[in-house]
Symmetry: C2
């Protein structure tokens, strides 16, 4: 049993007309649940709710809403309340959020916020969104190395309410350089009179502010870090990236891989909100490219049109022979690309994996080839046609698995993202290859 | 700059022959880095290292190694040292680990471990691995509601070294039922003399021990929880699931979705270690099914063999007409399935999304159809062929986007995992549909 209020109960609460009852029940609801149901309410009701919840919860709600929804609300709330709400967000979230607004609106809001926050956010807005700088928040806890554990806990007690994570306390020297780290767990169990420099760990994992977000996510997931400090080239502490940011990045990266692999589309244009012109524009180039690939396969057939006219039945097997190897190639491709992305396939194993896929390909090829050959014989009552169809399928499938596993490995070696080798691309390549093998064999054996 | 020692430096350390130097450098290395490079060393060296590192680090290393590798090491280390190392793991990790061993070996190891740990692990082994029970650890911190904050911090100080997470302290009543929660952050900033029951939050999110792991992961990612308590039907606290377990689940689920969507394969058989018989066995049923689909499309062509003999050039466009709509369908499918998985497409938006995909399909269909029609005319110098080819492609692509977006939505509505609607399946279905449209139109317009 999930102890979440169910939908109708929450809706009932949001529809309260009595102000005091509404305020009470908003206090009890989780921001995420309010954000889930807010878009189903009429706009005036939404605005009323966003005015009534405390600033902290309002910022959590806003953060979980879709961009379109937020823009609507902002107009209704006016810049003053919006700036108040933004001031409650962690700087990384506020920056993400402001980064999506038009320049003019952004400036109005920043001018209404506290100067210190506004400056932090302006700085964060300068970093590339796909880097550690784009992910990090500036609300961390740092102490100097020459204080005691008890003093550090006191500092923590004061800064905790504003910090994004209190689970690591960072230690910096006089030049603001990161020199150590202590987890809250270690701080709690340490002797209160001990000096920080005596108990801190001096081997600190940190990432440079320009490190790619995917690398940050991999590092944190590999080592199970809750947070990782971000430094500049001079090792000065600039901010922290926390695990919740990384969960979002992991989801984003898996989505990107999937979009590329299955569908050859750049995920940026595929958010549910993006206009249908953008969506179509992102998909068309590849679809058209693949169409040309299909025509190339057709061209192969035309080159063998004499063979085809000699035996029209050859045409009946074009779809099976184009589909089978393409599917086999996609399977190998997916296994290898995903293995590379999760790190399950590492440098030491790459050749073993390709070899294993090749063995699988041989087995699959023989089974599918035999089967299609029997089916072709039964269907068309021609032994030679059965032989040609079966043999072509078997050979094509073996080539397909080798190609499907080798291409991403090679791309990975030369430093290209292997997820760019998409299923449809390899499948279309296999269409052409299978047609050459099929009609080539047919010409050889039939005529 | 990632402050990780680079590969060669770590290898150099692991190759140390001086025992004292080896011990020193092992102390400085992160367990994850040792686990990364261990498999590249000769077996005796690996065993030496696993004997030399402290038990705690040894358990971290073991946890990160592949199953095959672990089995090798265990033989070398012997059951006594192995049980020692397992005793250092959190119960959830130890249970995962033991669950993979043969019954006999499992019993030997459990009998060598501390009785309390062994019992906890035996209990965890009873839960289905895909549920909250299979993910949870039993090392949590719980306190009673009638003690003070200072007393709670004292308890925390004692139990922290053994607990998997100290970031939430759970409050239970006399019947071990979960009644509240306090985060370590709240505990640190609270007045030390306050009573726990006065500051604890009484609205606690918890999951039932039988909740599916995917649901647990979604909940934790949605609310950004570091840990979530697991209870039985009687609301008694049994354990906790922590964010690192959930990161692994998210990766696993994304992999499953991808395997199904792109390649129609059950991911269970696709781990790099699984034998090639298992791999082939998991892929063959679908490949063969899709082959039949290809033959059905071929059957459509045979039914129109008169038309085909009348104009052999129709065969040249089979691959383009089978590929294009299939690719368009895969694109729509991926966008919708992924949107459903990440929650970006929710109940309120489902119809809007299908409608948007349909609009995209119409635009894409018109563009691709026009293009192919011009290419066909230029290539084959036949106006009527151009018309047939273009019109068939346009109609097929529109149908493909509707089918690709509607099928996962319907599956989601009736409670079936939409990722089971795979790209290759929809593409093969589109092969048949496009052939009917293509040869149907050709018969209508040409003969």
């Amino acid at each position: 049993m999930l102890k979440r209020e169910d939908r109708s109960e929450i809706l009932e609460c949001l529809h309260q007309n009595s102000l005091s009852k509404l305020r009470q029940c908003l206090r009890d609801l989780h921001a995420v649940d309010i954000a889930d149901l807010l878009p189903t309410l009429p706009l005036p009701q939404r605005i009323k709710i966003m005015r009534m919840v405390d600033k902290d919860k309002a910022s959590d709600i806003l953060f979980k809403l879709d961009k379109e929804e937020v823009l609507l609300l902002l107009e209704g709330l006016g810049p003053k309340r919006t700036a108040e709400i933004l001031g409650q967000m962690f700087t990384d979230d506020a920056a993400d959020f402001l980064g999506e607004l038009p320049e003019e609106q952004k400036d109005i809001l920043l001018s209404l916020m506290e100067a210190a926050d506004a400056e932090d956010i302006r700085e964060l807005l300068n970093y590339d969104v796909d880097t550690a700088g784009g992910l990090m928040a500036t609300e961390y806890v740092d102490v100097k190395q020459d204080i005691t554990v008890a003093e550090a806990i006191n500092i923590l007690r004061k800064t905790a309410p504003d910090a994004e994570t209190v689970y690591y306390v960072y230690v910096t020297n006089d030049r603001e350089q990161l020199v150590g780290v202590i987890s809250l767990r270690e701080l709690i169990i340490a002797d209160p009179s001990a000096l920080i420099e005596d108990i801190m760990r001096t081997k600190v994992f940190s990432v440079n502010v320009r490190t790619d977000q995917e690398e940050v996510a991999k590092l944190m997931s590999k080592y199970d870090f809750l947070a990782v400090p971000v430094v500049n080239d001079n090792m000065q502490l600039l901010g922290i990236v926390t695990f919740d940011d990384v969960m979002d990045v992991m989801e984003e990266e898996a989505t990107e891989d999937m979009m590329r692999l299955v569908a050859n589309i750049e995920p940026e244009g595929q958010e549910i909100e993006s206009s249908f012109w953008i969506r179509a524009g992102k998909r068309l180039p590849w679809l058209i490219g693949l169409l040309f690939g299909g025509l190339l396969a057709g061209n192969v057939i035309q080159n063998f049109s004499e063979t085809l006219e000699h035996m029209t039945a050859l045409a009946f097997f074009i779809t099976a022979l184009a589909g089978g190897p393409g599917n086999a190639a996609s399977q190998s491709l997916t296994v290898v690309v995903r293995g590379l992305a999760t790190g399950e396939v590492n440098r030491n194993k790459i050749l073993a994996v390709v070899w294993k896929e090749t063995q699988v390909g041989i087995l699959i090829g023989i089974v599918c080839g035999l089967l299609l050959s029997v089916m072709a014989y039964v269907w068309q009552q021609s032994l030679i046609l059965g032989l040609v169809v079966g043999l072509s399928l078997a050979i094509s499938i073996v080539i397909a698995t080798i190609l499907g596993s080798l291409v991403p490995v090679i791309m990975n070696r030369i430093g290209v993202d292997p997820a760019l080798a998409s299923g449809p691309f390899i499948a279309t390549l296999m269409d052409i290859t299978s047609m050459v093998i099929y009609f080539g064999l047919a010409t050889l054996l039939i005529i």
